[in-house]
Every structure is written in structure tokens, then in C-alpha cells.
């Protein structure tokens, strides 16, 4: 375990160091230490309320929207502290993308959804063909291009849930994020759509480092390289997925995986 690791270890997408978080007086995370390797899919599992979403939302600093949140410790993305005084929340969020439980495309066209984050910040005039290229590349990357290429100007909320969720992933890509955070991205989808999104996540693996929260053990097992088990605001175990499911090191992990847990 990397206890008080001062230097960022090479090949780490996210390095969480002695991270504590309080919602007002309630402490949700306790001394979390975690090294998420780059380029792979890491699943985050644990019972409801154990702090998975909180940890995820700390990585892109979106927890700070709530005025009453306090933190201690640090989170580094690709070796850089996201809470560094000179780091801007906006840059952090552009480089650490987030996918939500319910697909939440913006109420604008499919094309504008994909271009949204880029256009917010790039004051440069983008030529139409540059924009088209970005839209096509992003939509191809999420395996959606062929299905929507003829209706890029239709409203995104008219898509099926599966397509919406894929679009929500696609719109993160133009700003070239290093890390994708996904908070139960499939829990609003039916089994077929879930399989499709899982396939997509597996496709993105390698180019992006993916941290995915799931309540679905089968999904964690199928679609991740490494697995983190959390319990009551602490990280209990972090191991290769195969190993965690076959031979968990800790009793709590075994209990949870086998469903003997709340």
C-alpha cells in the first residue's frame, strides 16, 4: 500500500491520499487511500450509502456545489492535485468527465450536446467542418454515429435511454478527458441496453481510465479489470476483479459479494 506517497506513482490515473470528506457534521469518507491505474476499468462496489458516489464526485470536485462540504487530504489526477490552489474547477471537470445514473442529455440537439463543453470554453471560431469532425469522431467512439448521423439536429431527449446514455459519454470526449467517472451508468437501462453500454465501456478502455460505480456484481465481474470494495466510507479491499470475486482477502468483501450484506 502506498501510505504517504509524496510523489505521484507512474501510470496512475487517480491517486487518492488520506482523503476525508464531511457533509456538514456527517463524515462520509474516512482516510481513503486509493491508486487507480491508468488505461483500465476499475469498478467501485459496496453497499448503499458507503460513499461511492461521494468519492466519485470528489474526483471532479462537483461535491463542492454543496456549500456545506469540507474535505481533507488530496486527490491527484495524472499526478496533479485537483484541489491545488491554482487548479480551476472548470478545467478539472473538463478533464475528468462524469456520467450520471439517469441519462441526462441537455435539452438541445444531439450535435449541440456533443459540442457543448468545447464551445463553452473555446473562444476560437470553429469552422463548420471542424465541428462536424469532432461530432463524428465522438459519436463514432461511442458506437452511435450510424444510428444518429441523419438526425443530428433533432433534440437529444427524443433518443432511447441507451442512446441517451451513450450520447452522455460522447459529449465528454471532445475535451479529451483523462478519466471517465461513471456513477451506476446502466442502472436506468434494460438488460440489452446495459450490455450495449458495457460493450462501449470496454471499447473505451485503454484510451481512457474508467472508474465505474455499480451495484450489479455480475457487471463488476464482467466489465472491470480491478475492483474496489468500500464499506462505511472506507476502502476495504482493492484487487484484481477476478481475484476479488474468486478469493476475496477480507471477510466483509466475501460477505458483500455473496449477498450476505445490506
Amino acid at each position: 500500500m502506498a501510505e504517504t506517497h509524496p510523489e505521484p506513482a507512474a501510470g496512475l490515473a487517480v491517486a487518492v491520499r488520506r482523503f476525508n470528506l464531511w457533509y456538514g457534521d456527517f463524515q462520509a469518507l474516512f482516510d481513503v487511500d486509493l491508486d487507480i491505474e491508468a488505461g483500465i476499468v476499475t469498478a467501485l462496489i459496496g453497499p448503499s450509502g458507503c460513499g461511492k458516489s461521494t468519492l466519485l464526485r470528489s474526483c471532479n470536485r462537483i461535491v463542492e456545489r454543496l456549500g456545506y462540504v469540507r474535505t481533507a487530504g488530496s486527490i491527484e489526477v495524472l499526478g496533479h492535485d485537483v484541489q491545488h490552489p491554482s487548479a480551476s474547477r472548470i478545467q478539472v471537470r473538463r478533464q475528468v468527465g462524469m456520467v450520471f445514473q439517469r441519462p441526462n442529455p441537455l435539452p438541445i440537439s444531439i450535435r449541440d450536446n456533443v459540442l457543448f463543453s468545447q464551445q463553452l470554453h473555446d473562444r476560437r471560431r470553429w469552422s463548420r467542418s471542424d465541428q462536424d469532425a469532432v461530432v463524428e469522431r465522438s459519436l463514432r467512439e461511442v458506437l452511435l454515429w450510424d444510428r444518429v448521423k441523419d438526425r443530428l439536429h433533432e433534440r437529444a431527449v427524443g433518443l432511447s435511454l441507451e442512446e441517451q446514455q451513450k450520447l452522455c459519454i460522447a459529449r465528454l470526449l471532445p475535451t479529451k478527458p483523462a478519466v471517465l467517472l461513471m456513477d451506476e451508468p446502466c442502472s436506468a437501462l434494460d438488460p440489452a441496453a446495459t450490455a450495449a453500454v458495457e460493450e462501449l465501456i470496454w471499447n473505451l478502455r485503454g484510451r481512457y481510465s474508467i472508474l465505474i460505480v455499480t451495484h450489479n456484481m455480475a457487471q463488476a465481474r464482467r466489465a472491470s479489470d480491478r475492483c474496489v470494495f468500500m464499506l462505511m466510507g472506507r476502502v476495504v479491499e482493492h484487487a484484481d476483479t477476478e481475484q476479488m470475486f474468486v478469493a476475496p482477502a477480507r471477510q466483509e468483501t466475501a460477505d458483500y459479494i455473496e449477498g450476505r450484506f445490506g
Binding site: 471532479n60 462537483i62 456545489r65 456549500g67 474547477r89 472548470i90 478545467q91 471537470r93 473538463r94 468527465g97 462524469m98 450520471f100 439517469r102 441526462n104 442529455p105 441537455l106 435539452p107 438541445i108 457543448f116 463543453s117 463553452l120 470554453h121 433534440r155 431527449v157 427524443g158 452522455c168 459529449r171 465528454l172 475535451t175
Partner: protein, 295 residues
Amino acid sequence: MSGPPSPFAATAVERRQLSVQQLVRLLLACVTTLLLVPVLGILAVLVVEGGPGLTWSFLTEKPQRLGAAGGIWPALVGTVWLTATALLVALPLGVAAAIYLSEYARDNRLTRAINLAIVNLAGVPSIVHALFGVGAFVHFLRFGESILAAGCTLAVMTMPVVIVATRESLQAVPKAFRDACWSLGATRWQTIRHIVLPNSISGILTGVILVVSRAVGETAPIMFTGAVFLRLVPPESVFDRTMALSFHLYTVSTQVTDVPRHVPFSVALTLILVVLTMNSLSIWFRMRLRARKKW
């Protein structure tokens, strides 16, 4: 029907409850219909009494003999000026305040006090607003008696409803959109500008309707701040004083002698038509926007 009684047959108690329910329903329907009577009555009287007098020349000519003859052109134009001024002042300020209250302000004692003040401001009688307008705009800000002073007074009076209507429609924009925007690196303002505001246009237009309806109809707030009894030419700038339909209606009904019977009715009908036209415009606009909006 023959055969054994159905197991679903109503019991005596249920039958009585059913008849009570039908009675209540009838009663409520009657009351609702009764509410329509005064509205339709007013419209009918205005159309019957004032309709024939409402000619093109009545609308476009200037008044003669203090309004007893001739038309209402300067008053019609004046009302448009006053309403536009009120709208131009009340809408930006009200929308800005609503955005601040709903998107930026924390829920603390100050904002709760502000919200309470807004609600109470909406209940202040218009004559009090009029006196405030005289003090604040005519004298203190030295607007003099002018369209500007009167329009500002109307704006202050209607601002609370603009704020409340806008705030409600801002808060109706789903939180998921804001989450999405923020997580894409949008600032609070970018989120408001690109996503929240475009989706709360309907509330803002409701605000427009409320401002217009009140600004067109109010008499007290403009009486001391910029409206005049008679001015034969339409205003040319916001620093002019002006005639206004509502005030003109008051004068031709009570202050001028020898007014033909139909004149006040025709003025009132014009007043109502102006309100209806402006409101239908906003409603039409709002419906077109709604049809496009789907989430």
C-alpha cells in the same frame, strides 16, 4: 336481471356516498360557472354599449371638447408608451432578481426576508405605490412628472409578480440539466444562460402578461406621476407627460360633462382589447415555445 346477486354490488352505504359525491360535484360545477357570469357580463355590456362607438376614427383622432367628442389617439399611444416603459424596467430587473434568488443566493435569513418582502410588496395597494412614485421618481430622482416616472412606478408595482413567476419557472428546470452542465465544466452563469433561461421562457412570458395587464389598467400609480387629463399630441419621449386610456376612462366617466353615453364604454372596450391583444400575443408565443420543448 336474474341470477345470483353480483359480489360487486354496491352496499346501501356506498350508494349513499355515491349520491353525496354527485351532489358535491354538481355544486362545484355550479359555482365555477357562476364565476364566468361577471366576466361574460362585463364583456357583453362593453361590446353592446361601446362596440358601435369603436370606429377607426375614434381610435385614430384626437379628442375634442375634453374627450366628449373626437377620438382617443393620444391616450392609446400614451398607454403603449407607459406599458412599454414599465415592461422595459420591470422585466430585466425582475428576471435578474429571480435569477439571483433562485440560482445564486443561499437559503439564509437574508434571502428569506427578501422573499417575504417580495410577497408583501405584491399586496401593497396601488395608491401607496403612486405616492412612493411621486416621492422617489418625480422628486428624488428628478424625473419630473413624465412617462419615465409613471413607468417606473408601474414597474415597481409589478416587479414582485415578475420575480415570483420567473423564479418558479427557473426552479422547474430539472436539476439533472444543471448537473450535466456543471459536470461539463460550465460555470453557473453559462449554465443559466445556455440551459436554464431558455427553458424558463414560459415563466418569463407569464411575467410579461402580468406586467402588461396591470400596467395597462392601473390608474392610481400614473395619476400623480405622469398622466395628464388632456394633451392633444401623443408623447415623443419618455420625459413627456401623456394621456393614458385608464386615466381617460376615469375622466370621461366622472369629470367631464355632456359626454355621450357610449364614449366611456368605447374607451373601456379599447382598454380591454389592448390587454387581450398583448396577452394573446404572449400566450401564443409561449405555446409555440412549449411545443418545441420536450423533456
